[in-house]
C-alpha cells in the first residue's frame, strides 16, 4: 500500500469524524477513486470500532428493543393503530364523534384515507413482502362504567375543540394522501419480489408538475420483465433481492422475446448472450433507435453490438457480433425529426446500491459543459454526485452507477448541466428531474 502521508492523515481525520463537511465530500470523492485508500480507511474504521469496544460495559435498559420496534411501527404505519390521534381508545373516539356532532361520514372518510395512506406507504417504503405492522394495541382499562361515563362527559365538554381538530385532521390526511398518490405515480416498482428495485422517471422540470402528464413506464417494465424472466428460467424465483445491473441483466443465457420491440439497447449483453425475437419489427425497424438494416437481410443493433438474423420459422436470432464482423448497413437510422422532450429512467437496486440511468433525447451539452447526475439524500437533505455522464451518441444510452456510500437514503434524482469536469454541488441548469 503506497499512500501519501497527506492522504493517510486525511483518512485518519475522516475515520475520527474530524473532517468538516466540505473536506469530507472531497475526501469521499477521492476515496471512491482509490482502492488503496479505501482499504486503509477500512482498517481505520475497524480500529475505531475496536477502540470503541473498550468502553466500560453498560447494559441498555430493559424494554429498549420494544421501544425501538414501537418507533419503527409508529413511523412506518402511524395510522393503523386503533387509537385516535388524541391517544383515545377507539370506543372513546367514537363516543366523542356522536356527542360532538361530527358526521360519521367524516370519520369513515378519515379511516378510508388512513387505510389508503397506510397501504401506499407500505408500498413505497417497504415494497418487499415485509410486515412490520404489529397487532393493534387497544388499551382499555379495567375501570368500570362510571369511569367511562365520566370520561365521555369530559369528551363532550371538549367536543367543539376536538370537532375542529378532527376537521383539521381530515384536511391533513387528504393532503398526505394526495402527495403519496403523486409519489406513487412517479415511482414504478417493477415486480413485487424484486423487492428493492425502484424505477424513477425523470422529466424536463417544466413537465414535472404537470398533473396529467403521461407516464411512460413501458420501457423499464420490459427491462424488468426480462430480468425477472431470465432469473425464473434459470433458477426459479430468487430468494433474495434481484441485482439489476451486473450479472442479472446480462445473465449468461438466452432471452426469448414474445412480442414488441424490447429495448435491447438498454440491456448489457455479455459475450455468449443470445436472444430469440418472435416478432422482430422487420417493417418498422426505423422506429427503433440504434437499429440498422444490413444488406444481407440481417439487422444490427449498434448499442448492444448484436446482430439479428432471420430464422426459418420467422423468428430472429440475436447474437453478439464477432470481432471484426462489420455489417454493411442498408440505411442508417436518422435521428427522428420530431422534437421529443428529454427523458430518463433511473433504475436502482436499493439492496446493492447499484443503479443505472437510461436517457433518451437529451440534447448535446453546450460547449464546455457536461451533464452530471445527482441524487438527493433524504436523510441529510444534500445532493450527492453520482458522476458525470459520458458523451452520448444520439442523446441516448444507459449509464451505470453505484450509490457512493452506505447509509444514503435516496430521494430524487437531478441531471444538471455543469462546467466541464463536473461540480461539487449542482449549480447549472436542471435538464431532468425525477420524481
Amino acid at each position: 500500500m503506497m499512500l501519501e502521508k497527506s492522504a493517510m492523515e486525511r483518512a485518519e481525520l475522516y475515520a475520527l469524524g474530524m473532517l468538516d463537511e466540505a473536506k469530507t465530500g472531497d475526501f469521499e470523492r477521492q476515496l471512491r477513486r482509490e482502492p488503496d485508500l479505501q482499504a486503509y480507511v477500512y482498517e481505520l474504521e475497524e480500529t475505531m470500532a475496536g477502540i470503541s469496544l473498550t468502553a466500560p460495559h453498560k447494559a441498555p435498559p430493559a424494554g429498549t428493543f420494544e421501544t425501538i420496534m414501537d418507533r419503527i411501527d409508529q413511523r412506518s404505519t402511524p395510522l393503523t393503530r386503533s387509537v385516535s390521534r388524541f391517544g383515545l381508545p377507539v370506543w372513546a373516539a367514537a363516543a366523542l364523534v356522536v356527542l360532538s356532532g361530527v358526521s360519521v361520514h367524516q370519520v369513515v372518510v378519515n379511516q378510508q384515507n388512513r387505510k389508503e395512506i397506510s397501504t401506499l406507504k407500505e408500498q413505497l417504503v417497504k415494497p418487499a413482502n415485509v410486515t412490520v405492522v404489529r397487532p393493534p394495541e387497544i388499551k382499555v382499562t379495567s375501570s368500570g362504567g362510571t369511569e367511562r361515563a365520566g370520561e365521555l362527559r369530559t369528551l363532550h365538554s371538549q367536543g367543539g375543540l376536538k370537532n375542529y381538530a378532527l376537521t383539521q385532521d381530515l384536511e391533513v390526511l387528504k393532503q398526505e394522501l394526495g402527495k403519496l398518490k403523486k409519489l406513487q405515480e412517479e415511482r414504478f416498482i417493477p415486480q413485487p419480489r424484486m423487492s428493492r428495485m425502484v424505477v424513477v422517471e425523470m422529466v424536463d422540470p417544466a413537465l414535472a408538475n404537470e398533473e396529467k402528464r403521461e407516464r411512460r413506464f413501458e420501457l423499464p417494465q420490459k427491462i424488468s420483465d426480462i430480468v425477472a424472466a431470465g432469473l425464473d428460467r434459470e433458477s426459479g424465483p430468487p430468494e433474495g433481492p434481484v441485482r439489476l445491473s451486473g450479472e442479472a441483466d446480462g445473465w449468461d443465457g438466452h432471452i426469448v422475446i414474445e412480442g414488441g420491440m424490447i429495448p435491447l439497447s438498454h440491456i448489457r449483453m455479455p459475450e455468449g448472450s443470445t436472444a430469440t425475437h418472435k416478432a422482430f419489427p422487420v417493417e418498422n425497424w426505423r422506429d427503433h433507435r440504434g437499429l440498422q438494416r444490413n444488406e444481407d437481410g440481417t439487422f444490427y443493433d449498434r448499442y448492444t453490438d448484436m446482430i439479428w438474423r432471420p430464422l426459418e420459422n420467422g423468428d430472429y436470432l440475436g447474437t453478439k457480433a464477432a470481432d471484426g464482423e462489420a455489417p454493411t448497413p442498408v440505411q442508417n437510422i436518422e435521428t427522428p425529426a420530431i422534437e421529443v422532450p428529454p427523458n430518463a429512467y433511473t433504475l436502482l437496486d436499493e439492496t446493492t446500491g447499484e443503479g443505472s440511468i437510461i436517457v433518451s433525447d437529451v440534447p448535446r451539452p453546450e460547449e464546455g459543459q457536461v451533464y452530471q447526475l445527482w441524487i438527493n439524500d433524504a436523510f441529510t437533505d444534500s445532493s450527492i454526485s453520482l458522476g458525470v455522464v459520458p458523451p452520448l451518441e444520439d442523446g441516448a444510452g444507459r449509464i451505470f452507477f453505484n450509490l457512493p456510500e452506505t447509509g444514503i437514503s435516496p430521494s430524487n434524482y437531478i441531471l444538471t448541466a455543469e462546467p466541464d469536469g463536473g461540480s461539487h454541488t449542482p449549480s447549472g441548469n436542471t435538464i431532468l428531474i425525477g420524481p
Partner: protein, 186 residues
C-alpha cells in the same frame, strides 16, 4: 471483526426480518450502549442514541455492503455519527465540560459482561492491551478523539497541549493500535 453470520443477519434485516433484527440487537446493543454511555454525558442521551442507531440500522440494512465495513464497524459508524450530532447540538450547553473521559479508571473489560459482549470480548481485550501499551498522554488524546468526538483544537485546549503535539499523539496512537490489531489478526 467480520462475521459472516452477522452479515447474513443484516441481509435478513434488509429484507424486513424483525427476528434477525432482534438477534442483532441482542448481539450489539451492549457494546453500542457502552460506547454511547462513555461518549455522551447523560444516560438519557445514550439511550436515545442507541434507539436512533437501531432505527437507522433497520432503515439502512438493505444498503449494507460488507466490502465497505464489517457489520459491527458499520453499526458503530452509525452510532458515532449520531453521537457526533448530539455532541454538536449539546455543545453550546455544555461548552468546556468534559464528558467523563479523562477520568477513566474503570476496568476496560468488565467481569460482568453478558453473553452478547462475550462475542466481542477477545477483540476488546486485544485493544485494551494495545491501549495500555500507549503512554498516558497518547491514550488520553486518542480516547478524547474517539469517545469525546471533539476537534483536535478542543483536545489541545482541554489538555493544555500544543495542537501539533495533539495531532501527532492521536496519529501515533491510532497507527499503533491499528498495527497491533493487524499483527494479531495475521
Amino acid at each position: 471483526m467480520t462475521d459472516h453470520s452477522e452479515v447474513r443477519l443484516l441481509e435478513r434485516i434488509g429484507r424486513g426480518n424483525s427476528q434477525a433484527f432482534e438477534e442483532l440487537y441482542q448481539l450489539y446493543a451492549g457494546p453500542l450502549f457502552s460506547y454511547a454511555r462513555k461518549s455522551l454525558a447523560t444516560r438519557e442521551d445514550a439511550e436515545e442514541s442507541l434507539q436512533d442507531t437501531f432505527v437507522k440500522i433497520w432503515d439502512r440494512a438493505h444498503t449494507y455492503d460488507e466490502k465497505l465495513a464489517a457489520p459491527f464497524t458499520w453499526t458503530m459508524m452509525i452510532l458515532r455519527g449520531i453521537c457526533m450530532d448530539k455532541h454538536r447540538r449539546l455543545n453550546a450547553k455544555r461548552r468546556g465540560k468534559s464528558v467523563e473521559l479523562t477520568a477513566a479508571p474503570e476496568p476496560r473489560v468488565s467481569a460482568e459482561r453478558t453473553l452478547e459482549s462475550l462475542h466481542f470480548a477477545e477483540t476488546a481485550a486485544q485493544v485494551s492491551r494495545a491501549l495500555e501499551s500507549l503512554s498516558q498522554c497518547d491514550r488520553e488524546c486518542l480516547e478524547l478523539a474517539v469517545f469525546g468526538q471533539i476537534s483536535q483544537e478542543k483536545i489541545a485546549n482541554q489538555l493544555n497541549a500544543p495542537l501539533g503535539t495533539v495531532k501527532t499523539r492521536i496519529r501515533r496512537s491510532l497507527q499503533k493500535i491499528r498495527t497491533l490489531l493487524k499483527s494479531h489478526d495475521a
